[in-house]
Amino acid sequence: MNGRGYYQSVVSLDRRDFIAGGSTAALLALLQGKLSAQEKPKPAAAPEEPKKPVGPPVKCGVIGCGVWGRELINGLLRLPNAPITAICDHYPAFLNRAKNLAPNAKAYASHAELLADKEVEAVLIATPTHQHRALVEAALKAGKHVYCEAPLAHTIEEARAIAKSAKAAVKSNFQSGLNLRSDPQRLFLLPFIRSGAMGAPLRTRAQRNKKESWRRASPNPEREKEINWRLDKLTSAGLIGEIGIHQLDLIHWMLSTRPAAVQGYGRTLQWKDGRTVPDTVHAIFEYANGMTSSYESTLGNSFDGEYEMMYGSDAAIMIRQNKAWMFKEVDSPLLGWEVYARKDQFHKETGIALVANATKLVAQGENATDEVPPTQTPLHFALEAFIANSDITGTAVRDFAENFDITDIKALREYIATTAKSRMPAAGADEGFESAVVAIKAHEATLNNSRIVFQDDWFKIATS
């Protein structure tokens, strides 16, 4: 934030205010509907937030420069230690757009060329889901660290192949694109929920409503088919596989569980354009402890957007847009700190805000009940973790090779394990695979409007 203080007195929002540089605070004030009468006094103890020390750079190559690939590029550009030395896409228009974002990167039309580039240490894969496997296997074989977007694959067999290669590639750091696993707000919630603050978990629900067709336009028919892989059941993991997977993974992670069965409903109601992937889905999950979850998503309506709810006997927890609230039952035990916490009204319910950096706010002289300043996106934290962890793995391998026989894989694995405590939280091969199995099968249930019982075998990776 600029040095002007977070809240500004806004008497009239004329054009000059916006243009004169007061726009950020004014815009935020508008969006949050909050107007403060006076400017907040700057806290004496902490002037400008000092720059966080970051590790040495890890040179990155991005394969797949579509909409999300370019989002990854922008994310990497915002990190101080993630230079993009190479980009790749076989579609020239996408490659050109990416070149505009990263003009110093070498632009390759084939992934083989990018993987042969010795400069590239880490590869980020953001191609269509059904192309992940071949790329991950090739990248690991080339000795690169790999970030593979979620879902790992559109079939369990391919997801398993990816997880198996990733676990076998000791010298590579592998991260799956379940970015919420690196997000500080969710990490903050984890011990809170695991400590049982909710009481006994009864049910959960997650939804994602957004009116969008998912269909991309293209100048020619072959490209049109390729670019709309999400709409074809042969190449797509559907609404649950491509988007719901993040929300479901979050819930299963928080509650340390995975479903025993799933009943799916899938319909194409809004976008009847010949697609074979439903645009409106429901999935109900059953768990061994009796709990149930529901996941609802539609591409036909945007009301109420995206959020997750977990209902327990003592409280319900809502996670929405990087924030979380707890709604306590009247008969639940007092935790003690509720009196001091910020509360927000939701229609008739009062939510206690679960603020990740409340302690830090207080230390800086801010009030823990103040509006939480905007933080970085989960993608930012996931990329930060990927770079840091790739450096840790890479350095460990180099140190080991310098002193010992690098072909002693068992000893190498043992040594790398001792560096685990320094790693930043991130989803690895195990997490990526387990969530992929759940999401792929749930999607399958919505395709066939059926009930599927999860088999333990499906979750086994069986490394040799």
């Binding site: 000092p50 350095t395 002193n403 010992f404 000893a411 190498l412 043992e414 405590k421 320094s422």
Partner: protein, 207 residues
């Protein structure tokens, strides 16, 4: 070469000399190094599980636990090597500050070259750990200083030598400025003195 007798004599002499020194190479797993430090806010610890290097001893050096130890001063050749970046605290930010303070890019390794090992007395029971005094040059951040470290040497059999010990050093002795990183909560002033504790496992190298 012209004279076969001279050649074979030369080669024999060389062979005798190389046979006399036995090399023990660092084992890839099982070693550990720990640095304990202080600051005005909290104590800190960094650890590494990787200690590389080797030690060469001659036939007089007591490597066999079954044989009675004869006290004395033994000339040895040894290089103990620790990668600076392998030292980790568990917090990335602190590791970065520490590695930079140690100038890891200029000098990526801490190295201890041992020249002499002195054994003052035999252990009470044959096969017990032996108290030894290692004398050599410790090189940290490009600065070399003679340092003596008291250690115990364990011999499980003739093929393994395990050195355990500790010593205290001052960062400033090696040209390292104790880091004073500015963090959100204020200024951290690191203490100058640190304690080094280690266990170094070596194994007889195959010829």
């Amino acid at each position: 070469m012209k004279n076969p007798i001279l050649i074979s004599l030369f080669l024999t002499l060389v062979a005798i000399n190389t046979q006399a020194a036995t090399r023990y190479a660092a084992q890839p797993t099982g070693s550990k190094m720990r640095v304990d430090g202080t600051s005005n806010i909290h104590d800190w610890v960094v650890e590494s599980a990787l200690i590389g290097g080797w030690i060469e001893v001659d036939e007089k050096f007591p490597v066999d636990p079954a044989v009675t130890v004869v006290p004395g001063k033994f000339e040895v050749k040894a290089l103990v090597s620790i990668s600076v970046r392998s030292l980790k605290s568990g917090k990335t930010a602190m590791d970065v500050v520490m590695h930079e303070a140690m100038k890891f890019e200029k000098q990526p390794r801490i190295q201890y070259s041992i020249k002499t090992i002195a054994i003052k007395a035999a252990p009470a029971k044959a096969g017990d750990p032996v108290n030894v005094e290692a004398m050599g040059d410790l090189n940290v951040s490009g600065v070399s200083k003679p340092v003596t470290i008291n250690m115990t040497m364990q011999r499980t059999d003739k093929n393994e030598l395990i050195f355990t010990g500790q010593t205290a050093v001052k960062m400033t002795d090696f040209g390292i400025t104790p880091p004073q990183p500015k963090l959100a909560l204020g200024l951290i002033k690191t203490g100058d003195e640190v304690k080094l504790k280690f266990e170094w496992r070596t194994q007889r190298a195959e010829k």
